[in-house]
């Protein structure tokens, strides 16, 4: 073996070794952070959920007692129910608003960029500011809405002090802040529909609603599923907006599941119980996601 060949083989071996190690080194920082702050806490939460733990005194194993306690906790179920009702109203509203605006904006019209920006812009604002903005509008004694009502001769409404109106305010704020985001997804979905379909339908004499019903809607199905699932998951995680808009009140009327878990965990220091609730919420959200994969199988999402 000549000197040159040996050198070549040496560098090759060195390079191979480098190629084996390099990817691990590149991925290491992410894995470390991810493992420490997402994976480990997830397992820790599962572990806590089988214990009595107040964060200070030693943990005590108590098997499934936390879960049994939750099943009997009426407040837990009413926050779940409230979150479910909120989701059931918010999801179709966001869907309809986002799709409606996307359909209007799908055509070649003037100022399209301006309109898109107007509807998209609220999705960039933090939930805290969204909540604050609508609080300034719905406020009982200072809100513009009550001023306007008085102008037309209607008694002021306790928007944030009645269960019905507080939930309505929360729903309006949610739709306002999220519709633009899903509008963009719908625009992308609409753009993906080949124009030949429309032309063929036109040739067959289909117009307006018919085209929408038989062409647009079916071909938009993968996008629709994605939007429904994302809005549903969003709805079950709802928390900061209500925190700012209603504070969860009046009473507990706008306290949804995540805020309840937060209160049990951080204010009442029942870490084990709150963790068990988190596990149940995760199963719920995971169930939705699994359902989505099922339904969208083969769909281009």
């Amino acid at each position: 073996m000549s000197e040159g060949q040996r050198l070549n083989r040496n560098t090759l071996a060195k390079q191979n070794r480098k190629l084996v190690i390099a990817p691990y080194l590149f991925i290491l920082p992410n894995l470390l952070i991810f493992g420490t702050f997402i994976v480990f806490p997830s397992l820790l939460g599962l572990y806590y959920s089988f214990h009595v733990y107040d964060g200070l005194n030693p943990m005590k194993f108590n098997g499934l007692d936390n879960y049994i306690k939750i099943i009997g906790d009426r407040e837990f179920w009413s926050t779940i129910g409230r979150t479910g009702i909120y989701a059931a109203i918010v999801v179709p509203l966001i869907y309809a608003a986002a799709l409606g605006i996307a359909l209007l904006l799908a055509r070649e019209i003037r100022m399209r960029g301006f309109f898109r920006a107007v509807f998209y812009w609220p999705t960039m604002i933090s939930y805290i500011i969204v909540g604050l903005t609508w609080k300034w509008i719905f406020g009982d004694s200072f809100g513009i809405l009550n001023h306007l009502l008085t102008v037309v001769g209607v008694e002021p409404v306790g928007f944030l002090t009645s269960s019905f109106w507080a939930n309505t305010a929360v729903i309006i704020a949610t739709v306002w802040s999220r519709a633009g985001f899903f509008m963009v997804i719908f625009i992308a979905g609409l753009q993906a529909i080949p124009t030949d379909y429309y032309e063929a339908a036109r040739l067959d004499g289909a117009t307006g609603m018919k085209v929408f019903r038989y062409i647009t809607l079916p071909l938009l199905k993968p996008t629709s599923l994605l939007v429904v699932m994302l809005t549903l998951i969003d709805a079950f995680k709802a928390f900061p907006l209500m925190f700012a808009l209603t504070g969860g009140g009046p009473g507990k009327e706008t306290t949804y599941i995540v805020q309840y878990i937060y209160e049990i965990g951080f204010n009442r220091q029942e870490l084990g119980l709150a963790s068990a609730m988190s596990v149940m919420l995760f199963i719920l959200i995971g169930g939705f996601s699994a359902l989505q994969f099922r339904l969208s199988k083969g769909g281009a999402v």
Binding site: L19, V20, P23, Y24, F26, I27, P29, N30, L31, I33, F34, T36, F37, V39, F40, P41, L44, G45, Y48, G55, I101, L104, L105, I109, G113, F115, R116, V118, F119, Y120, W121, P122, M124, I125, S126, I128, I129, L132, T133, W134, W136, I137, F142, H147, T150, F181, F239, F243, A244, I261, Y262, G265, F266, L271, A274, S275, S278, V279, L281, F282
Partner: protein
């Protein structure tokens, strides 16, 4: 398009646009009013006179400058960190064949299903145990390793031809050199999209600061605002002014990078 149809579309769009614009507009207008105008009845549509008193007051009182500074530090450093480590991980997953890569990728993606809200309590314990509780590092480092970022980087870098990397290796370039001087410049467009997303995520974030911070001197803007709202005597003047200032950076980023935003949205469809 028939003129009738056009008129209908434009009027529907305009009505919707006005409804969408009014809330924020009302906040901005209100922030410019004097205190006596703020609660006057009937409400004045335009501030007379226009005053910036609330804006000045916001910075004087309530340490708003400090919160603004904290938010800026967190947003900027977390974004830089995110771009660095996510592009490294994305590069590894896209351009190397190695044991465990599939499992790692699936692991990253599946954790997208774990909302941070669900593991707030154990995260709090981990932060405390590591001595990160009440420090800005706790909102800078953990959220920087986002699966969305890794996944987007990987998808983008898959299109880089292997020959390019081989050629560089032939020329004696090390793996780090390849990443730094070949991959990063190629990845500029996707890095821009991620930078915008990260800016928005961190600037707007509430849940991480809520878990990690209790010391008012470490508050981010969102945390401070939520605390002010909860106060018994809400000072709406400075609160509205703070909201307007807080919206400004996002508005500027939005206007400058609008095109990236929409295309980035279309490819990723995520807010995390």
């Amino acid at each position: 398009m028939k003129p009738m149809v056009k008129i209908v579309i434009y009027s529907m769009l305009s009505v919707a646009a006005v409804v969408w614009l009014l809330p924020v507009l009302w906040v901005v207008i209100s922030a410019l009013k004097t205190n006596s105008d703020l609660y006057s009845f009937p409400p004045k549509l335009w501030p007379q006179p226009v005053t910036f008193e609330h804006f000045k007051e916001a910075f004087r009182k309530g340490d708003f400058g400090l919160y603004f500074m904290n938010s800026t530090i967190v947003t900027v450093s977390s974004t830089v960190l995110l771009l660095l480590i996510n592009s490294m991980a994305g590069f590894a997953l896209a351009k190397y064949r190695f044991r465990g890569s599939t499992i790692i990728l699936i692991g990253f993606i599946s954790t997208l299903m774990i909302p941070i809200e669900v593991i707030m309590i154990p995260i709090f314990k981990v932060l405390s145990a590591l001595g990160l509780y009440n420090s800005l590092l706790a909102i800078i480092i953990p959220p920087a390793a986002t699966p969305t970022g890794v996944f987007l980087m990987r998808q983008y870098l898959l299109s880089v031809p292997d020959e390019l990397l081989e050629a560089a290796r032939m020329d004696g370039a090390g793996e780090w050199k390849i990443y730094w001087s070949i991959i990063l410049p190629i990845a500029k467009p996707i890095l821009a999209v991620l930078a915008i997303f990260s800016f928005m995520w961190r600037w707007d974030d509430f849940v991480w600061p809520l878990i990690a911070i209790s010391d008012p001197s470490k508050y981010t803007i969102q945390l401070a605002l939520s605390n002010f709202i909860g106060e018994y005597n809400v000072d709406w003047g400075s609160l509205l002014a703070m909201s307007v200032i807080t919206m400004l950076p996002v508005l500027i980023v939005f206007m400058v990078f609008q095109r990236y935003f929409v295309s980035g949205m279309i490819t990723s469809g995520m807010k995390g």
